[in-house]
């Protein structure tokens, strides 16, 4: 397999292109995904290759998009929808939550709803309260939807192809701040298992479990901690639902300490679920300190860049929290 360095955004585009080439049932649908290339340029050029029938620009109608991919999936297609900013998934949520998520079970297994809905989350762009949210936990809470949030180009490509081939509705959450990050990606199509976490860095002193862009920040923090002699293990769940609990539990058994990091507001966030998974497992007996959650403040994202910066965890906050935990100062 020939592998080269490409960006997270290029890896997603490549997954879309290869799946569209392989399977005529796959099509893209979303706002300004054609000539404009989508809000973040991810689909740029695909309309030239596949034409407007397979790269469909929609009106500004998020509920329409989510409803349309539901209906098309029910009747034999494998659509990939795009919602320009994760904040707008709130408008699409009826189709996702009440329809797509329920259909298979509610109709006694009559039907499957094989779609992917891609959307970017996160702050850090100065775009204020309605263009910066991380709402992953809203959907983790809904039985019937899978939720994926990859953080490297390699994971993004493999998990997106897996998501398109999966027979369930999948919310595929991209991290805005990662679009330009580069990493090695094989040219050929490949899949990664949905429901498999990855230890992104080995360490013996504490386990950091992070979501989205916080994986990158945690890895940077781990480098700094290493200079102080603290070896942090960094785990990326990659798929939030289903969650690979075993990888997390084994890591915490090894280190005895768990630091959970995400950008979404702390109260009701995914960190609560991760903490409970650890506390309910045999890792509980190995904990040497309380589980620590470092998350976004319970407030909307402000426009001012300094305020925005202090609203969500940064590398220095992770270093500090990890250092305290490693020294059992919590």
């Amino acid at each position: 397999m020939s592998t080269r360095d490409i960006t997270y955004s290029e890896a997603i585009r490549e997954a879309l292109r290869q799946e569209m080439q392989r399977d005529p049932r796959v099509f893209l649908i979303g706002e300004d995904i054609g000539v404009y290339g989508g809000g973040f340029g991810v689909t740029l050029g695909l309309i030239d290759e596949f034409g407007p029938e397979r790269v469909i620009d929609t009106p500004i109608s998020e509920l329409g998009i989510a409803g349309a991919i539901t209906g098309a999936a029910l009747t034999g297609m494998r659509p990939v929808g795009e919602i320009m900013f994760m904040d707008f998934v709130t408008l699409a949520s009826e189709a996702l939550v009440n329809q797509a998520a329920k259909i298979r079970f509610m109709f006694g297994g009559e039907a499957t709803v094989p779609f992917v809905l891609r959307t970017p989350m996160g702050s850090g762009t100065g775009a204020a309260a309605q263009h910066s949210q991380s709402l992953e936990n809203w959907f983790v809470h809904i039985p019937g939807i899978k939720v994926i949030a990859p953080t490297t180009p390699y994971d993004a490509k493999g998990l997106l192809i897996a998501a398109i081939r999966d027979d369930n509705p999948v919310l595929f959450i991209e991290s805005k701040l990662l679009y330009k990050t580069k990493g090695p990606v094989p040219e050929e199509p490949y899949t990664l298992p949905i429901g498999s976490a990855e230890v992104k860095r080995q360490g013996k002193d504490l386990s950091i479990i992070a979501v989205g862009v916080m994986v990158k920040r945690s890895l940077e923090a781990a480098e700094k901690l290493a200079q102080e002699g603290i070896q942090a293990e960094v785990i990326d769940p990659r798929t939030l639902k289903p969650l690979d609990k075993e990888t997390i539990i084994q890591s915490v058994i090894k280190t005895g300490k768990a630091l959970i990091v995400h950008e979404a507001a702390k109260t009701g966030g995914y960190g609560g679920e991760l903490a409970a998974v650890i506390a309910e497992s045999q890792a509980f007996d190995y904990l040497e300190a309380p589980i620590v959650r470092l998350a976004g403040r319970d407030m909307p994202i402000p426009y001012n860049r300094t305020l925005e910066y202090h609203t969500v965890p940064q590398v220095e906050n992770i270093v500090e929290a990890a250092r305290k935990l490693a020294r059992l100062e919590v």
Binding site: D32, Y36, A127, T306
Partner: protein
């Protein structure tokens, strides 16, 4: 066209000129680094904002959009506090927390710009419902784009307003694009005013580049609303001269279209009318322009020296306390 007095038309010109120059100044200040965030400018669309707000009273309310600077200025927003908000400062309209997408001044009846396409429309209907419940003669006007008429929020809100004959005006600024997609590729009709028919209230089309035509259409709608006759949909046909946002490469624009519309630029067109129709002297116009430039110099100076929010301030005000918020 009615026989407008000279001072009135000169004031109309001052307003559209202020909107244009505010936008150009904001774009410039963004380039120079004073403004850190995104700007969706309304250059080319000044006449809809100004004409519509001229027909409103101070205690009438508006809801605005992501392209809202013109609406705010037209409803009486102070360029100083607007510029400070764009510069993310503590003394900006929203303490630097909102930015361009989220400016509001409730004292002036500006219920807020909006980052969600169609997000303000149901709230305008809600305001009109409140006025109607309290038997007040106030009206609500919602500005939105052509693209927003494809949202469920518009259709649900318009249906309620038609059903309950609420004092609300749906003001659609049809600038022929929603982001990079032409209006004709987003809806099966070009005259969006026709949408009103299904909600059983009038839909009118006006030249959105003519502030007086917009004013007259809106005045009529306001009269209807105050008289308890219900909503009106006004479609102002206009065009956005700059990118969807500052920095937009605009690959989607149809060649020649921009030039065609620039020939009907609302600012020089109306300026020429002042001279030809109302025999206003060049000098007098120049004076108005100079005073606007002066006002904008002050706004930029104010924003540049305005205090920067501190980290502790960030946590304030997520919830109202007992005495928090304005009684409106």
């Amino acid at each position: 066209m009615a026989n407008y007095k000279k001072f009135f038309v000169l004031d109309v010109y001052r307003r559209i000129y202020l909107v244009r120059e505010f936008e150009l100044r904001a774009i410039e200040e963004r380039r120079r680094g004073l403004i850190p965030g995104f700007i969706h400018s309304c250059v080319g669309e000044e006449a809809t904002a100004v004409g519509a707000c001229l027909a409103l009273h101070q205690d009438d309310v508006i809801t605005s959009t992501h392209r809202g600077h013109g609406h705010l200025l037209a409803k009486g927003g102070d360029p100083k506090y607007m510029m400070a908000e764009l510069a993310a400062r503590s003394s900006g309209y929203c303490k630097g927390r909102g930015g361009s997408l989220h400016i509001a001044d409730f004292d002036l009846g500006i219920l807020g710009a909006n980052g969600i396409v169609g997000g303000g429309i149901p709230a305008a209907v809600g305001a009109a419902l409140a006025f109607s419940l309290r038997k007040e003669k106030r009206v609500a006007l919602s500005f939105f784009g052509d693209g927003a008429t494809n949202q469920g929020s518009f259709h649900e809100a318009a249906n309620m307003a038609g059903l309950w004959k609420l004092p609300v005006i749906f003001f659609c600024e049809n600038n022929l694009y929603g982001e990079g997609t032409p209006q004709s590729k987003q809806a099966p009709l070009c005259d969006l005013a026709k949408r009103a028919e299904s909600f059983c209230f009038p839909g009118v089309i006006v030249d959105g580049n003519d502030p007086l035509a917009v004013y007259e259409a809106t005045r009529e709608a306001v009269e209807r609303a105050r008289a308890g006759e219900g909503p009106t949909f006004i479609e102002g046909k206009t065009y956005r001269f700059r990118g969807h946002y500052e920095g937009d490469p605009q690959v989607y624009r149809i060649p020649g279209e921009l030039e065609e519309w620039q020939a009907r630029d609302p600012i020089p067109t109306f300026r020429q009318r002042l001279i030809e129709q109302w025999s206003i002297a060049e000098d007098e116009i120049k004076q108005v322009e100079d005073s606007v430039q002066q006002q904008l110099n002050e706004a930029v100076a104010y924003a540049s020296s305005a205090p920067i929010p501190q980290e502790e301030e960030a946590l304030e005000g997520v919830y109202a306390d007992i005495h928090g918020g304005k009684v409106f």
